[in-house]
Structures are given as C-alpha cells and as structure tokens.
C-alpha cells in the first residue's frame, strides 16, 4: 500500500510511503487518498517525510485533495517536507496557500 492512514483526534493522518511521488504513481495514490476523503470527511494531515521528490503530477494530486477538502469545509495540512518538495511549493507559490507544518507529530 502506498499510503498509511491513522486517526489522531479529529484529524486523519495520511502518510505517503513512496520516495518519488510522480506521474508514475499519482493515479493510484490519488485514488487511495480520495477513497479516504470520501469515506470519512475530516481534516487531513499529509505526512510527506518519506518523499524526497515530487513532480508536477504529484503536485496536482495535492492540489486536487486540497480543493476537495475545501469544498466540504475541511483543511489539508502538509508536514515533513524535504528540500525538493518544499522548493517546488515555493516556485509555484503554493507555500502561500497550503498550511505547512514542520512536525508530523502534533
């Protein structure tokens, strides 16, 4: 399974178990996360600490989940970002839109 799901209080924590989150695995990861969102609406903390590389397709999945949650008044938070995923968010200006937290254990 490319994601792990854990409920922490009212937040669902989804951990991505891949090093590369890209066009090659984005469809499957998107399907799995969307199933979680649809099964049980709640805020989501996406743990990216294992992900060292995100391309524009991986980014599009994060945007899609962000929009899906926002439409039901829920929030997406990202944590554990390594250098390259953070740089990608900065150059696309999405670091201003997404909620990014350092620690995934809060």
């Amino acid at each position: 399974m490319n994601i792990d799901v854990e409920r922490v209080d009212s937040i669902k924590k989804i951990t991505l178990n891949v090093k590369k989150f890209d066009v090659a695995n984005m469809q499957e990861i998107k399907k799995n996360i969307q199933a979680e969102v649809e099964a049980d609406a709640s805020d989501i903390l996406m743990d990216l600490s294992k992900v060292s590389f995100v391309d524009s397709s991986g980014l599009s999945v994060i945007i899609s989940i962000f929009k899906q949650l926002k439409s039901s008044n829920h929030q997406l938070k990202l944590c554990g970002l390594q250098e390259q995923p953070m740089e990608l968010l900065e150059i696309t200006q999405l670091h201003k839109i997404f909620t990014i937290i350092d620690s995934c254990n809060k």
Binding site: S60, Q84, I91
Partner: protein, 129 residues
C-alpha cells in the same frame, strides 16, 4: 563530454532516467541545482512519453547530457510532432496556482537558464554556478 540514454515510451522509464541523470551529475553540480535538473528533466521526458510519443511502445525518447565548463546542456528528443511554442517567461510566471495541469513546461521556463525548442527536441541549459 556527452552522454546519451535512449528509453522506451513508458512511464516506468522515468526511474531509469532519474537515476542516470543523478549518477552523471552528482559530482558536477551542487545539490540544489541537481534537484532542479532532475525535476525539469523528468517533466520534459514525461511530456515526450505522454504527449510526444503518446506512449507508443515502439517509439523512443533520447536524452543527451553535455557537461561543459560552465553549463549543463540537456537535449530531450521524441518521435512526435513537436511542440508549437514554449510559454514566455512572463506567461510562466503567471502560474495559475491551483490549476491541476499545464505546469511542467512553465516550470522548465522558470527553472532553466535557457530553453530552446527545435521541433520534437527540447534543449535545456543550466548554469553550473
């Protein structure tokens, strides 16, 4: 020095391209520059596989990496019809933050030092710094 890699038009080729470029350039550029080069190479090879060659398994994508004194030049060529044009720097800067597609070429314009389109071949130039 020029190195070449030819891959099939399937998405699983991307891991091979990533590892090959990483191995070639790890000792040639800084870590931030390497991350930029790996991202943009992946974006352009993805475009070649999906849109240029339309995932036709008999069609190939060729990646050439030239390591020069001040620059890294990367040519990516497919067997498709080629792009008509590239976004301008201004268009690339006007990113629609929440669009879910169309970001790869704009990132290439923003993150390379120079980019050239020659039909079905795209040339990326990165300063080594």
């Amino acid at each position: 020095m020029k190195n070449s890699l030819i891959v099939k038009s399937e998405l699983k080729s991307l891991d091979n391209v990533y590892r090959w470029v990483e191995e070639l350039l790890t000792d040639e550029v800084g870590r931030k520059k390497l991350r930029d080069i790996l991202l943009i190479t992946q974006e352009m090879v993805t475009n070649s596989i999906l849109h240029g060659n339309e995932e036709a398994i008999d069609k190939k994508v060729t990646i050439d990496v030239e390591i020069e004194l001040n620059e890294i030049k990367i040519n990516i060529e497919d067997e498709g019809k080629g792009l008509k044009s590239l976004p301008s720097h201004k268009e690339a800067e006007e990113l629609d933050y929440l669009a879910e597609s169309g970001r790869g070429l704009k990132l290439a314009v923003l993150m390379t030092n120079s980019i050239e389109l020659h039909g079905n071949r795209i040339k990326l130039i990165f300063n080594r710094e």
